[in-house]
């Protein structure tokens, strides 16, 4: 099986039905996407496939239809993506465990809709659970990131 993750092609020998999440984490050692529920209820495993935000716990390895981007491919500590920079500026994270998924969800939203309304932000981000309750800062950071991306 062939999988391209963060621009790197990998040849893999795994079951077709192994969820993409576990291929990333345990076969490729890419641990930014997190396991939280395994049933697409928490969003901690969110990655992009061809730019679309998906729950990697629900995508079988054999069904991956395009290039995969994880949070590690979005930006790095020394080269932050605008969404990550906004997350740092607002100090969104508490435990931080859900934030890889939150950031990937927000990045996909803003790529599709550069000026989301409050209702659109709420709708796009409500599939990502945060047990620490960082939601007010997530809303604020999405707006800051949107403004930064619009200004280029």
């Amino acid at each position: 099986m062939r999988l391209t993750v963060n621009g790197v092609a990998h040849e893999l020998d795994v079951e077709e039905d192994m969820p993409l999440l576990w291929v990333l984490r345990d076969e490729l050692g890419i641990t930014g996407p997190k396991y939280g529920c395994g049933i697409a209820q928490c969003g901690a495993c969110t990655v992009h496939v061809d730019g679309e935000a998906v729950r990697s716990c629900q995508v079988a390895a054999g069904d991956v239809w395009g290039a995969v981007t994880t949070i590690e491919g979005l930006g790095r500590p020394d080269a932050l993506h605008a969404v990550q920079a906004a997350w740092v500026e607002h100090q969104v994270a508490q435990c931080g465990y859900c934030q890889s998924g939150q950031i990937m969800q927000a990045a996909a939203l803003l790529a599709e809709n550069p000026s989301p309304s409050d209702a659109e932000i709420d709708e796009a981000m409500s599939g990502n659970l945060c047990r620490c309750g960082t939601y007010p800062r997530i809303r604020a950071a999405v707006k800051t990131a949107a403004a930064a991306l619009r200004e280029g």
């Binding site: 079951e15 192994m18 969820p19 576990w22 984490r25 345990d26 076969e27 050692g29 641990t31 930014g32 996407p33 997190k34 396991y35 939280g36 529920c37 395994g38 049933i39 209820q41 928490c42 901690a44 994880t70 949070i71 590690e72 930006g75 790095r76 500590p77 932050l80 990550q84 997350w87 740092v88 100090q91 969104v92 994270a93 508490q94 435990c95 931080g96 465990y97 859900c98 934030q99 890889s100 950031i103 709420d122 709708e123 981000m125 409500s126 599939g127 990502n128 659970l129 945060c130 047990r131 620490c132 309750g133 960082t134 939601y135 007010p136 800062r137 997530i138 809303r139």
Partner: protein, 747 residues
């Protein structure tokens, strides 16, 4: 009866433990300096100037022994050390250190005392001081009870100052310039001519010196970090997917595992058939463990699949099987024989209830799961001579002791490497999952094993916040609250947890009534009684512990009485409030919310609630509105008093996060039981709060008190009652049971 006599009758934990410690160890032992654990295994040229600061050629390492679970403990500890040591917390290495008695928590036990936080009398202060003795003798290294900042505020600044002055002494000896003429800045001693001697270069000489312990702490006017907005030390890692939690650990040769234990907690295994699992791809070994079966494989998902394929015949545990039976057992326990405490008994409650027209109500809260987003996990490597454990934990010393017992190794042979936690909320005050991983690793000695629970295993095997029932009675007279009598029945969190930690159980359990008996109100006839229910499903501390249920009972019933008296909810709480610091908190939240009574309009209303927990008076006003989709929580105002705000940004995050935690569970969550196990085992049926329900939140912290307080938990207790009181103001419906969505719909 005198206060001393009452204290003796209460037979509370600390007094008895302190006396026990005195008999066994002698007071002299308490006075002995604790050894510096960093001195074991120092490399050539490295200096460990205190248990909290290590300096070698490669740089400065700050030891931050209170564990990071999202509350910002690592960051605040680093900044407190840096305030005196003059290093940049973002540039130095941070390490939680190995478990050690040197890192005992001197503040956490004080919360268990039967003295209200507002009681600053001689006896209360003596008892608080005494809690240092058992904490130190037991080497209780615990993260919890909102105690990190109160425990560490002076201690870490002192450690930073000792390290700084010792480094300056080393520089003085090298240069011949007197120590008091030297300065420090960003990791270097600065000579009068501006020349800089890096700490790393001074370490070899400093290591040969007796640490300089006669130091004075810098005055507030010189602070660079305390009270100012700083960057959390982990914020970049947590925004880039590069923070390494326990579940992310990778070691050479590591195997992956999962377990299935009896869904009835503590029940046994009659037998199992693992033949299908053993034939599955990647499965290396099936291992029977305490109360269950584990699978060791080459990939976590394969371990999950294999565990699911094992057929297991469970033996039922001893506790009641269903929620209905548990509730009946709770109700039946509210009898004189089960009376556990009556720490509040003022005026003549019986007479007031006899003479007045008594208002009566029954309140209930359900079992709740902690459900931190990172499921329980641990990685363990066992050999014949040592064990290494990597995990997120609030109790590293207990992990060390329990693993030593299980493996037959000595405690010093057990090394616990504490990793950042993806949430905890009290969950990782337990270590059953860690011991399961130890059992698996013992079956494949020499290979590290990372054991991860499925979410379903995690929810099924949580030790929940106990369900509680309260019976409340009260009277009003001439527009005022006259009497309040609250009886609470609950399992004992303290007895349940201490049983698992193998520590002697205390007398009365303060957590059964915490958040109710200790509230600063001068109600003429006022009584709070705790009843201890038998142990059922094992229970544990859940963010804000006893106050999470009692705050709801106490404040909502007070709101009922105030309504019956025809008084304004905020004005009457203020009139009754006997603590000046708490009054200021109520006044602040009134001003922030523009309080003008509970009704805002036909479709909007507000409720206020107050709870003093962990020494922090906290008042919250919740505004709600009626929408076509149901009741919407629009806005929350919160004001609290905590003596000193160390990190304003994290303070705001902890309070607003606590409010969302409190509201989300109050609105949407409960664990119900069938067949001894919870019926809610994943986030489809136990969601907490999602972003679409989150209100706007405005927080204000006051700094009028003399004592510094922690803020991880106090935001939680007033949230549920403030919302229930707001719903009453909006709809006239008084909801006396959580979760609220049993009775109303939320937008």
């Amino acid at each position: 009866m005198s206060r001393i006599g009452r204290m003796a009758r209460r037979g509370f934990l600390i007094g008895s433990a302190a006396i026990g410690g005195g008999v066994v160890f002698g007071y002299w032992r308490y006075r002995q300096p604790l050894p510096n654990p960093l001195l074991d295994g120092l490399a050539e040229g490295e200096a460990a100037l205190t248990p909290f600061v290590k300096i070698g050629a490669e740089g400065v390492t700050l030891i931050t022994p209170r564990a990071e679970m999202g509350q910002g403990a690592t960051s605040v500890q680093a900044y407190l050390l840096a305030e005196e040591l003059d290093v940049d917390p973002l540039k130095v290495r941070l390490d939680p250190g190995q478990p050690s008695p040197a890192y005992y928590n001197s503040a956490v036990l004080a919360e268990g005392l039967p003295f209200a936080a507002t009681d600053t009398g001689w006896l209360a202060e003596q008892a608080r001081a005494l809690t240092d003795v058992p904490a130190r003798l037991l080497g209780m290294q615990i993260t919890g009870g909102s105690s990190t900042v109160p425990d560490m505020f002076d201690r870490l600044r002192h450690a930073g100052a000792v390290a700084r002055e010792t480094l300056k002494e080393a520089a003085a000896q090298e240069t011949g310039i007197a120590r008091d003429r030297l300065g420090t800045d960003d990791g270097a001693v600065v000579l009068p001519d501006g020349k800089r001697l890096p700490y790393t270069a001074l370490a070899p000489r400093a290591a040969t010196l007796e640490p300089v312990t006669e130091v004075s702490l810098r005055p507030e006017s010189a602070w660079r970090y305390i009270g100012k907005r700083v960057q959390r030390t982990d914020i970049v890692a947590k925004s880039t997917g590069t923070e390494r939690y326990g579940i992310d650990l990778a070691l050479d040769g590591m195997l992956f595992a999962s377990v299935r234990a009896n869904p009835g907690l503590g029940g046994g295994v009659n037998g199992y058939d693992a033949s299908a699992a053993e034939a599955m791809r990647g499965v290396q070994k099936v291992v029977p463990i305490t109360s269950g079966v584990g699978v060791i494989a080459d990939n976590t998902w394969r371990a999950f699949q294999a565990v699911n394929a094992i057929e297991i015949d469970w033996a039922a545990p001893a506790y009641p099987a269903s929620s209905g039976e548990m509730r009946e057992a709770l109700k039946a326990a509210m009898t004189a024989g089960n009376r556990d405490s009556r720490f509040k008994d003022e005026g003549d409650v019986e007479n007031a209830l006899f003479e007045g027209e008594a208002i009566e109500a029954e309140y209930r809260v359900p079992y709740l799961a902690h459900a931190p987003l990172e499921p329980m996990n641990a990685t363990v490597l066992v050999t014949d001579t040592r064990a290494d454990i990597w995990t997120g934990t609030q109790i590293p010393r207990f992990v060390q002791k329990h693993a030593a017992r299980l493996t037959g190794l000595g405690e010093k042979q057990v090394h616990v490497h504490v990793l950042p936690m993806g949430g905890s909320f009290g969950r990782r005050l337990e270590d059953v999952h860690v011991m399961q991983a130890v059992e698996l690793a013992m079956a494949v000695k020499g290979r590290p094993v990372k054991m991860t629970w499925t979410r379903e295993e995690d929810m099924t095997h949580d030790f929940p916040r106990p369900a509680q029932i309260a019976r409340a009675r009260g009277t009003v007279r001439n527009g005022k609250v006259e009497a309040l009598d609250l009886s609470v029945v609950s399992q004992s969190v303290t007895a349940s947890w201490m049983g698992r930690m193998m520590v002697a159980p205390p007398g009365p359990d303060i957590t059964i009534v915490a958040g109710a008996w200790d509230q600063p109100f001068a109600i003429p006839h006022y009584r709070v009684t705790g009843y201890r229910a038998p142990e059922m499903v094992p229970v544990s501390s859940w963010r804000s512990v006893g106050a999470s249920g009692n705050g709801f009972f106490h404040d909502c019933f007070l709101d009922e009485l105030i309504h019956a008296a025809g008084a304004d909810p905020l004005a009457e709480r203020l009139r009754l409030c006997s603590d000046p610091l708490s009054r200021k908190v109520l006044e602040a939240v009134a001003e922030m919310s523009g309080w003008s009574g509970p009704r805002i309009s036909e479709t909007r209303a507000r409720g206020v609630a107050f709870c003093l927990s962990f020494g922090v008076p906290m008042a919250e006003v919740v505004e709600v509105s009626r929408t076509p989709g149901g009741i919407r929580v629009d806005k929350v105002y919160a004001a609290c008093e905590l003596g000193r705000i160390v990190d304003p940004d994290n303070f705001e995050a902890q309070v607003s996060g606590g409010i969302i935690f409190g509201l989300g569970h109050a609105m949407n969550c409960e664990l119900t039981y069938a067949g001894h196990a919870p019926e809610q085992v994943n986030f489809d049926s136990y969601q907490g709060m999602r972003l679409s329900q989150a209100p706007e939140i405005e927080v204000r912290g006051l700094e009028n008190g003399e004592r510094i307080r922690g803020i991880g938990e106090p935001g939680v207790p007033p949230a549920a009652p403030a919302l229930a009181n707001a719903i009453f103001a909006l709809t006239g419906q008084r909801i006396r049971e959580l979760p609220l969505n049993r009775h109303v719909s939320f937008a």
